[in-house]
């Protein structure tokens, strides 16, 4: 591992630089004895330290990822092996498995749909929003901008605990007698509004909504904090154009979240009114369960507008942090500056802006006026341009590098591969004419799983492997297991989702419990088996990662230097075992942009190092 600083010296060069140029905020005069982390509860549970909160988000996210993943395995078994008995799942799933006289157990269709719904909700919100953005925004924003903590550590703590509560409520809904909500993660009314329509739309939907409203609170508390912190707590010299791309991504993500999540909450609020107070925002002229309902004048399409006004930005809330992490990790391990730093920032901003004006591309076939779709097609396909710029820039970052292959970087490369594959299929779906045929088929399933599921997971893994030592007292995760994890997952994930494109082209609709009834859809038994087997293997590989994760927390290889990757960003100027407040003495001040790798013959120059005379600043050369 190359490093140009004297690692045997009692103090690193960075420490000396911080001592010399750093800003003295008299942190230790104020925090004598650290009254905020004095006992077990305030250190590990109700912690206000951003690093501990990051770990809480991550581990809670992992818990939910395992639950969400297991759910997908159960419904994949149904799709891949519809003839096989599921009686062995009876001890866990109880009455949702009906066992006939011959001892053959079948999964109840209601529960199949509940599993699909919960899988989506859990992975989208709890894992890829909270687990990804929550973890890394918390961990990296203060560390990379040179702040001692978040602007409001208290709100930050609340942000986690609202997320935790949301999880408790959602978890409880799994055990309801009527089952958890089963109307799809988008919860379209009238299905979600009427308990008569589906057994999961009763108490299950109530808990689902309550849980997600709590979740919105969590996101908003977190988001306000991230934005405030980035704007106000940047250390001296850390101009916006000197922020690492991770921070740009988290910052923009937080803004998107703040603007869009309240709209979701308002949609839920109106839905609750329709459910409980007899209003008719989304309901009109419904005859169900032998009864004509009083509701007239509402529109189910209105809910879809409100939902997707969040729903579409949400996919960027998921993918932007992953993009930020990947940009950083690729650059550090390619030992090169990220190619086109400003273009990367502008494309993040462009994507963020466009993400607000494309929502109706989820609704081309929903009965909205076809004329309005023209605008959404145009804006949607324009997103391909900044996305393409990012992809080309990542590839150009690898060009001419001196690439270090570790698990973090592999996942970053894997991310780019996934983002290309999944992003390109978006060009089909964004074009409304093609979407007529592909909407709600497996083509869509393949598209979004690759581009925002697998890709976002890859970004998250890149981040976990890369910053693990910063989270867990200077220990690394095991590299061999990490590489097995990576290659297995890369191949496995393509094995799961690539064939789904063909299913989609053949017209097979998503959210089907069984394909036997239709001549058009029943010919793909072998493919479905193959997908299910691949899914099981991929899930097992993720368990390998979990084992690696927990083993490494206590037994992982120890970091011997403060800056093991030769990285120029601020988090690696903190001590190996970084405490509350992040820097033991002064806060570092920033002298340059974060991507000075390989400049003027030096392998890397940290952000705290002043420019030499005649050295051109930032990316100029």
């Amino acid at each position: 591992m190359a490093s140009n600083v004297a690692i045997t010296a009692p103090q690193t060069q960075e420490d000396l630089l911080i001592e010399e140029f750093g800003y003295d905020d008299h942190f230790h005069d104020h925090h004598h004895g650290d009254k905020y982390q004095s006992n077990f509860v305030t250190t590990y549970i109700f912690s206000q330290d951003h690093k501990m909160i990051a770990k809480q988000f991550l581990i809670t996210g992992m818990f939910w990822a395992i639950i969400g993943g297991l759910m997908s395995l159960v419904f994949r078994l149904q799709l891949g092996f519809p003839e096989e008995s599921m009686a062995w799942l009876k001890p866990i799933l109880g009455k949702w498995i009906t066992v006939n006289e011959a001892g053959i157990g079948t999964l109840a269709p209601e529960f199949y749909y509940a599993l699909v719904t919960m899988h989506g909700t859990i992975i989208v919100f709890f894992v890829l929003t909270a687990g990804l953005s929550g973890t890394f925004s918390n961990l990296l924003i203060p560390l990379q901008i040179g702040a001692r903590d978040m602007a409001s550590p208290l709100l930050n703590m609340f942000s986690y605990w609202f997320f935790f509560l949301a999880g408790v409520v959602m978890f409880a809904s799994l055990f309801l007698n009527t089952g958890p909500f089963a109307g799809g993660w988008t919860a379209y009314p009238p299905l979600s509004a009427l308990p008569q329509a589906s057994s999961g739309s009763g108490a299950g939907m109530t808990l689902w909504t309550v849980s997600l409203v709590l979740f919105v609170v969590s996101v908003l508390l977190g988001g306000i904090n991230y934005v405030t912190t980035v704007l106000n707590l940047r250390t001296k010299g850390m101009t916006m154009w000197r922020l690492p791309l991770t921070i740009w991504a988290f910052f923009v993500t937080a803004i998107i979240g703040i603007l869009s999540f309240p709209v979701l909450a308002s949609g839920f609020f109106l839905l609750m009114c329709d459910r409980g107070l007899g209003t008719s925002f989304f309901l009109s002229e419904i005859f169900i369960g032998g009864q004509a309902l009083d509701h007239v004048g509402g529109s189910p399409v209105l809910y879809q507008h409100l939902f997707w006004f969040l729903g579409h930005p949400e996919v960027y809330i998921i993918i932007l942090p992953a993009m930020g992490i990947v940009s950083e990790v690729l650059s550090v391990h390619a030992r090169k500056p990220i190619f086109g730093y400003k273009a990367m920032v502008y494309s993040i901003l462009a994507i963020a802006f466009l993400s607000f004006i494309v929502w109706a591309h989820h609704m081309f076939m929903s009965g909205v006026n076809p004329f309005i779709s023209n605008f959404f097609v145009i804006f949607t396909l324009i997103i391909a341009v900044p996305s393409a710029v990012k992809v080309f820039n990542w590839i150009a970052t690898l060009y001419g590098g001196n690439i270090r292959f570790n698990s973090a970087n592999l996942f970053a490369i894997g991310f780019v591969s996934m983002f290309i594959s999944g992003g390109l299929t978006g060009i089909f779906l964004g074009n409304s004419a093609i979407d007529i045929q592909l909407h709600d088929t497996y083509f869509v399933v393949a598209h979004f799983h690759i581009v925002m599921g697998i890709a976002a997971f890859f970004g998250m893994y890149a981040g976990v492997y890369h910053w693990f030592p910063k989270m867990f007292a200077g220990r690394f995760m095991n590299e061999t297991l990490g590489k097995i994890h990576f290659w297995g997952t890369l191949i496995g994930a393509y094995a799961i989702f690539w064939p789904m494109h063909y299913l989609g082209m053949a017209g097979v609709p998503r959210r089907y419990y069984s394909f036997d009834i239709f001549d058009t859809f029943r010919h793909f038994g072998t493919m479905n088996k193959f997908i299910t087997i691949a899914a099981i293997i991929v899930f097992a590989l993720q368990m390998l990662m979990v084992i690696n994760f927990f083993y490494s927390i206590w037994r992982g290889k120890k970091m011997t230097t403060q800056n093991p990757y030769g990285s120029s960003t601020l988090e690696w100027t903190t001590p190996i075992n970084v405490g509350h407040g992040n820097w033991p003495g002064k806060i570092p001040t920033v002298q340059r942009w974060p991507y000075d790798y390989g400049k003027d013959g030096k392998e890397f120059v940290t952000q705290v190092t002043p420019l030499t005379e005649k050295e051109k600043a930032e990316g100029a050369h």
Partner: protein
Amino acid sequence: MTALLAIICVVLLAVIAVQVGKVTELAGKIRGEEEVQEQTNRMNGSIGMIFMIVFLVATVVSAFYYRNWMLGYGPHEAASEHGMSLDYLFNVTLFFTGIVFIITQILLFYFAWKYQGKKDRKALFMPHDNKLEIIWTIIPAIVMTFLVVGGLDVWNETMADVEPGEEVIEFEATGYQFAWALRYPGPDGKLGTRDYTKINGINALGQVWTDEKNMDDLMVDEIVLPKGKKVRVRIIARDVLHNFYLPHFRVKMDAVPGMPTYFVFTPTKTTEEYREELSKYPEYQAPDINEPEKMLWETFNYELACAELCGKGHFSMRRLVRVVEEDEYEVWLNGQKSFYLSSIRGTDEDPYKDELLDFEIKERKAAFNSAVNKARAAVEDSLRIIRLENVNFETGSSTLTPLSRYELDNVVDMLNQYSNMTIEVAGHTDNTGDAEANQALSESRAKIVYDYIVARDIATDRLNFAGYGQDRPVDTNDTDAGRASNRRTEFKILTQ
């Protein structure tokens, strides 16, 4: 026990995994980190290259393998006019994205391998290159413009509603949990109005029967369409969202309660023609597992499915779609019976229960007139009796049922037409109950008829009435049917 074994297995696997990890870490310590890292770089760079090649080959080969399931290829060609341009657009997009996909995946893994970390390598300092960046901003922008223009062209043409006055076959699909109700407009070509509060067990769509347009509407079990004719399907839902999805026709549109949507398309291939087409492909030359004596292509049918999650039975909302030649379509259409007449007419649902519709009045008048003509032409006395089939009384009483007046009006018209004609109105009963009471009932019923006619300005000397009780049966009294035909009101032409 099995559970315990499973847990032990998992734990053992975990231990093995951890040990594998540890061993390699030890190797790192012994051989020096830099050395190990360089070897790792070499290995993973190479795995990346192998992966890239295998992956790209797999995508191309699998696409070739599944070509017959892909849009616009082989048997999977669209069966509608707009579907063809949609398939074309799909393949244009596939062409461009395919190129980008292959080039970027190659560059990604090739660069990763080519620039794998080595001790003596120096990374380039290449923070940006405006020219390159402008190029790869503009090229995607041009390609996107091309795709947007092409896409919107197809989109706006496909989604255009029919012009007023344009010839079109319209039918209606209503999604409900968990089936489709299909309605055709009948001879008037217009679908009748609906009111969801009128929905019940019989009237599944809440058709408003006072709307004349509803009376000839047909409820059918399968969609039948003529080839080459423009079709507009009106789509609506009764309870939750559904989606009207015809995969072979590239038709898909949400069914929304309270908000009708539509889709206009033109089928271009009959079911038979599509089967012909399929018979050429090996995929379809296998026996159908559901009907092993037939080949897959022979059992092929167009299908209607639901493509919007609507509850636990979402996956089962199937209807058949049959496209036929135009004359066959006409035959089929004419063979369908109006739902109102076959299932609603005369029931409590029917607002016109107590009256006859214009065409029924005409039909009955014609039937009556022909009976009168026959009777007038008859020589024998006994054949000059005309039975009033549609004159009925409430059970056990001598009150006319509301619909009887139409028949009696026909009698009045007849008497007006033949001004010299005289008749005798006669009442008959079956043999149930007391004979005297029957006699009285028959007489009072005959009198009611007499009164009705006389009240319409027919001179009293032109008709009389008589009750014959149970004495003149025309059928056996041992069966229900026999007794029913014995209970009757009739008249006899006395003079012409």
